[in-house]
Symmetry: C2
Subunit: 378 residues, 2 copies
Amino acid sequence: MAITISVLKEATGENRVALSPDVVRKLVKNDYQVLIEQGAGERSFYRDAVYTDAGAKVVDRSEAITQATVIATIAQPDDAAIDQMKAGQTLIGLLAPLTDTEFVKKLAAKKINALAFELLPRTVSRAQTMDVLSSQASVAGYKVGLMAADHFSRYFPMMITAAGTAKPAKVLVLGTGVAGLQAIGTAKRLGAMVSGYDIRPASRGEVESLGATFLTTSVSATGEGGYARQLTEEETAQQQAELEGFIAQNNVIITTAQVPGRRPPLLVTQKSVDEAKTGTLFMDLAASDLGGNVAGSKPGETVTTPNGAEIVGAGDMASQLPASASDMYAKNVQAVLNDLNKDGKLVFDIDDEVVGELLATYDGEIISNRLRSVMELP
Amino acid sequence: MAITISVLKEATGENRVALSPDVVRKLVKNDYQVLIEQGAGERSFYRDAVYTDAGAKVVDRSEAITQATVIATIAQPDDAAIDQMKAGQTLIGLLAPLTDTEFVKKLAAKKINALAFELLPRTVSRAQTMDVLSSQASVAGYKVGLMAADHFSRYFPMMITAAGTAKPAKVLVLGTGVAGLQAIGTAKRLGAMVSGYDIRPASRGEVESLGATFLTTSVSATGEGGYARQLTEEETAQQQAELEGFIAQNNVIITTAQVPGRRPPLLVTQKSVDEAKTGTLFMDLAASDLGGNVAGSKPGETVTTPNGAEIVGAGDMASQLPASASDMYAKNVQAVLNDLNKDGKLVFDIDDEVVGELLATYDGEIISNRLRSVMELP
């Protein structure tokens, strides 16, 4: 019997879809059956007919859920969908296991096998084609650079015209992980004068290779999995004070410092925000309900300071470039399926260094060591 | 007595301001007095205090109007402002004399001297520093390219990632005047595959020098003042049919073909719009109440076709990059003032090839030959 992959329509506000027509075509060629919930791709500009052309069957939500071997989603499906699932079915997506352990317990209780992209061991090279956090951060970084340029009241490039010359915008990117580097790349493409700051000295080379200036503070810290470690209070204060100087010299400040499951570090203090000149633009990619990198940022909102600076809470950028983001996401899902598929059957090797970590739950058990440690399980 | 230049606050919806703080500083240094209506620069991120620092006096609207030698605006001031003006005062701005001749008659009746940027003889080299249509088209072209990228659901650049490669967007720019060339430049900067079409064969070199592909149809036409001449019905049909083929091959179509005072030519037919694939983006810079370049475009609105293509009526792009647009506009105003200023007095030489055309009205007379011809005056 063929392995059936079902794609559900995401909740309102999420524009991405877990499989693209291109990936559907490849899966069908490899003997998977693909079911697409009606309208699932609509907000990514993939209509039902395109999926049908690619070999998928377009069905209602109930059929997509009940007939699936694997259900692929972007975010957690709603309770009704989970209730309809049966033991032995598999769910793959950004399931937020580290911050929503109740959801994990529910899946385990129902004996649903859950593959959560947040748990992927990102430093294992075999896992890189499955790395949703990286692919979506890359999209988000491009998009936030573009949005910054579109939101800003001035040219990014230097412009030489008959009426005179316009100076290039000065753009500072705080946090130069995948998203930060893409934001730097986009701002550079547009001709801005760009500098990048990161607490990890190792990122100097990456920033400079994009033609941007690398900035450091006297605080430096490299942590696990490529993320920066958490700073002490004293280090944080020192970092913030030094950053204030950099921030004041720039017109556009893009912040991208995120650590999974923790409050994002505050990089732009209230003092920097208060002192920012009229027209200064802060784009906070880390804006979330937990807080962001910029004092006073609010996810999904633009806040204008009394001084006339703007803080854009740019929290869901990947969803704002939905077709490309979905394409990349779908390729990551396909890579996981390829990895699990042994002679036409999905095999979950819980001892494998990638699969054993990606698995939040399997057959009623919590599998991922990282998740077990967060849940304080032995 | 010093020449007093007053700047009025524009109506809601217009973000630009006629003088920037930088230009104010230069005018004050050259013995002009500058009055700024309270809040005039607010939407361009120029606050009153910045003008005060530059040497201007911030005043109420009534004082700005009554004390002015010259009133500089972006668009036509409201009736109340005109009513408050006195004979002998000068008004400079985008006064729409060619399409609103009633307004011209009113100014003439009041003996207000009116300098209308639409009337500038753009091919005279001395006039280039005063060319507001060009400076604002340049801003608009940059901005529409940026907005297209921000609006599009996919990457503009080719992206090579661990998960796979994303193809670059295919962008077609119809009309390669000042705005079209800037739109091409912006899309190229962002890494898209860009082609440019113009009915004037002379623009091939300009398009190709930006690294874009030049497209031609079998219809070609060069008209006066650098604009294309109006086509016959037969030529139009032939052009449209040939363009349909180009349009269908692209993901993003930016249209920029405008002719002052005439309905913009329809370049994208209803057939092209109907057949456009889901996710295709049309950005119509020529969208206006007179119609646009794209069938069904509406100024200031985004229309989604039944097929899932989008038509953005991008009619006021310069106003959407307000600080840079105002900077350029202000430099154009300054160039006119420099030209008129003879030993500390504004002298209107109606026989001068530039001033005599820029002047819509002077001392109760309609001056510009172009305007007289449109108004059917001898």
